[in-house]
Amino acid sequence: MRVKIFVYLKDGVLDPQGKAVERSLHALGYKEVQDVRMGKYLEIELDAPSRQAAEERIREMCDKLLANPVIEDYRFEIE
């Protein structure tokens, strides 16, 4: 099973990298860009007896390691 995980900053957490990318896009002429927030994308290949079992394990992995709950949220898609 392949899982795609998106980890992103919570609203209200400063994202200077996103701001820097926004400025660069503006400098390149993409003035219509209003906001950029940067996150992380992970792909995990794993074995699981069911989608539900995989979901449970992935949630645990995200809660424990892959995302910092103080500053990040996450979502994922199982293929």
Partner: protein
């Protein structure tokens, strides 16, 4: 008293901490390898600066799961003293031993310079040798030192007086220009509710002798020594 300085793969400031303690303060210090289980009679454990696990994923995210950390958590829960410096502070936040998180500097730049800190509370084993409002000049060298906590946590930090040091200017005032990394409320270091775990981004071990540019860092270490001397009385709460 006995100090232990943890070495993670990628730690780089453990030697500075060791030298400062051993040479400048004549302390008994040991290096503790991250893969070993915590053992022996220790009074204060230091998590030093550096780039543990390459700062991969997030600074300190993986170091918090090193084998030795289980012992560190138990040690802290029993009231043992734990000091996290820079990457050490990041690891303690990731481990949940300290509230909040350290994020990328607001300027996106790695800042390497001396800053002024103001001592906000002196009723802890890490600050009891100082005076409230005292200024300390310590170097910082980090790219991810911007302290963040949500509003509820920040309120709790204020209520419990857990903010121990703030970034200030030479006159002791907080100001945007004096805040090197955009930290919330100019926070440079916090302690836990039990006041036995302290994390700060600046490096006291690099301000331990005049030839390095100052000795203000000794205030933090000698507070711990003083507190441990009076351990039976838990002097810092008097």
């Amino acid at each position: 008293m006995r100090w232990g300085v943890i070495v993670f793969p990628g730690s780089c400031d453990e030697q500075d901490v060791y030298d400062c303690l051993k040479t400048n303060l004549r302390q008994k210090v040991d290096f503790l390898w991250h893969k070993d289980r915590l053992a022996g009679k220790l009074d204060c454990i230091v998590l030093p600066g550096g780039f543990s696990y390459g700062d991969y994923l997030r600074c300190g995210a993986m170091a918090r799961f090193s084998p030795i950390m289980q012992g560190v958590v138990e040690f802290a829960q029993k009231g043992g003293l734990v000091l996290g410096i820079c990457n050490g502070f990041q690891i303690l936040c990731e481990a949940g031993l300290l509230p909040g998180a350290l994020t990328r500097n607001a300027s996106l730049q790695f800042i390497c310079r001396r800053v002024f800190l103001r001592l906000e509370e002196t009723d802890t084993p890490f600050t009891c040798a100082g005076k409230k409002g005292q200024l300390l000049k310590l170097p910082i060298k980090h790219g991810e030192g911007c302290y963040y906590a949500d509003p509820t946590t920040l309120e709790r930090l204020h209520k419990n007086r857990q903010i121990l040091v703030r970034y200030v200017d030479a006159k002791g005032r907080t100001a945007p220009a004096a805040n090197p990394n955009g930290s919330l409320d100019h926070i440079a270091g916090v302690c836990n509710e039990g006041r036995n775990v302290f994390g700060l981004m600046p490096h006291p071990e690099d301000a331990g002798e005049k030839i390095l540019g100052g000795e203000d860092g000794l205030k933090i270490f000698s507070s711990v020594i003083e507190a441990c001397d009076k351990r039976g009385k838990r002097a810092w709460l008097d």
